[in-house]
Subunit: 386 residues, 2 copies
Amino acid sequence: MPDAILDDISHRRYNPLRGSWVLVSPHRTKRPWQGQQEAASKIELPQYDPSCYLCPGNKRAQGDTNPKYDRTFVFVNDYAAVKEQQTEYESPAQDGSLASRLLRAESTTGKCYVITFSPDHNITLADMPAEIILPVIDTWTKIYTAHLDPHSPLARAAKPTTLPPSTTNGHIVDQPSQQYRYMQIFENKGQAMGCSNPHPHGQIWTTTSLPEEPSLELGSLQRYRREQGGCNLLEDYAKLESEKGERTVFENSSFWAGCPWWATWPFEIMVIAKAHKRALVDLDQQNKEDLAEVIADITRRYDNLFETSFPYSMGVHQAPLTGTNEEIEASHFHIHFYPPLLRSATVRKFLVGYEMMAEPQRDITPEQAAKRLRDCGGELYRRKLR
Amino acid sequence: MPDAILDDISHRRYNPLRGSWVLVSPHRTKRPWQGQQEAASKIELPQYDPSCYLCPGNKRAQGDTNPKYDRTFVFVNDYAAVKEQQTEYESPAQDGSLASRLLRAESTTGKCYVITFSPDHNITLADMPAEIILPVIDTWTKIYTAHLDPHSPLARAAKPTTLPPSTTNGHIVDQPSQQYRYMQIFENKGQAMGCSNPHPHGQIWTTTSLPEEPSLELGSLQRYRREQGGCNLLEDYAKLESEKGERTVFENSSFWAGCPWWATWPFEIMVIAKAHKRALVDLDQQNKEDLAEVIADITRRYDNLFETSFPYSMGVHQAPLTGTNEEIEASHFHIHFYPPLLRSATVRKFLVGYEMMAEPQRDITPEQAAKRLRDCGGELYRRKLR
Ligand SMILES: O=P(O)(O)O[C@H]1O[C@H](CO)[C@@H](O)[C@H](O)[C@H]1O
Ligand SMILES: O=P(O)(O)O[C@H]1O[C@H](CO)[C@@H](O)[C@H](O)[C@H]1O
């Protein structure tokens, strides 16, 4: 039963996954907006763009030529944030000096991939039926598998039938030259999210370090598991939300998708495995098909909401590539969607000022957001227009 | 001595104030940019705009009329995120149920003010000489003082000569109806930072809760104080940086200003009191004049950097309005500037995708950023053009 008062008063909600709070001000949606508006992207794109570095057969910045791929294509980022090899750097000793306490750095190496979701330049996940999203999930799984610590309990779960990605579909995925700690799979969609090329694609950054967000989450998941006799926080949460229903946007037998209780972004969505799945390698064929269905469904709802190509950042959180058994068992596969739009295709929510200095703040409640997203299912608006 | 290797390799730097890491990829500045560009704001604004709700003598959304103020003017936000009064809400009991563990909320009340920095519609802090910024600092101090717990050790530091803000210069600052925990003073400048009105102004949000960021910082400051025999992390840090110099942008006898070792935003700046100052009420006349000088200097450098009205969010962190003696003694007055621009007036750094899902990431190093900001001091570019 939704707590009706919370629709009306300022309050804070707790995010047990990050261990942090968000300020909710439902009455604030009434304020007028005179500030920046995003340009609504009305440009019709061609199916193939000869100047796009992601289209099949085209040449990339550093001279490589893309194969004529027909599903997904993976290559090492030409402008990677981390690289496999670099000058060695040893962090200065902790000698008790001010500098050793306050100016701490550590070297990080890694590998950054780009993955295209389709050869077509002018479509997005929202245009793709589940069957065509499935190869994306398969490619993610193959790359994750290729980077797994062979001694991890997850390596046993990985299908032996998985081909080495380097021989799949022309993918350039060499064996990693060392054991990385974590793999972040993500997508930036839309110019508002800093995406510099509309060709449907995501990224995969793999590093020797466990980054901040997965590390925060893993800490909470481990604590919950210890305190709640081996239960998993996100499995429990998906069960609770599926029963309550008021924050649900879509669900099937393998996944719950909805606006989490503690959502920061106006139309934030989390996709959570209903059963305990530590990582992509734990998903069976049915789970993968269900995941493709969820991704197809919610990206379509997003586009339908404001009848626009809805911008967002999306990221997969799962078990680290290597870690203690406890870390791996406490991990739980889930996906975050962080979209910036608030009121229309052109008015976004800025997480600035108070949000940066003090605390994330949202206007509409997650329950209101979920209701609006539940109400705009069905066919993609662009297709109806035709 | 700067560690030359760090100019060249990917590494993570530790932020001891938040207890978090940032990924630094100096080689990545070379990547081409085909994505969104901000509109460079070339519009000439009038000194007085009859449709602006902040100009002197104008009517505001809810019907109030602004006085003909001549320095600063403060009023309660017409669309406040938190309010003094609202329906009472009691958080459900922790009865061990899933819902009580995973769906936690608490009521938050508070008061939100808007403060104009000048009656002139068409200037910014960068246009204002230090003498004209001083009244802004005085107004902040008065509002902070009016909300202080009278039993706090800080109340003793507050000048008895401070007038109640409600009688100052026509300011509408009633006594708060209850004791709030924390006051966040901040400014969003520029459309890119969600600011909906160019009239120079900031905001002040005061809440019953201690928000996330100040709470994280306070935790670190207290831990450092305990572990380092009563020393203050930020006082130590300002001393170290002032000696090293490579991240310094500007300093005077009371404040150090520079790009912190752990900066996330490309041209992020922190202003830190050199001596131990817990809050605005600890600043004497000289300190306040020095603070006005720092703010004038760095906002001018920001504008000079890309010859544009430089967008940013700025926020003051200081002691909570009420708290334990340990919390108040560990607090240290400082200001953060988070500007989004990276390469020019129109190309910003997006903290999206990897940054949201995994870890903040920056391209140019803080040392490179500080050098560029050191090199663009002097007169404001706009004035030189005349
Ligand atoms: O209050 P304003 O200036 O209308 O709004 C701006 O600042 C607020 C506080 O940082 C944010 O919550 C809003 O998203 C932003 O647009
Ligand atoms: O790698 P891209 O798409 O060029 O760049 C985009 O995604 C990166 C990873 O989230 C961010 O660091 C960049 O700021 C953003 O513009």
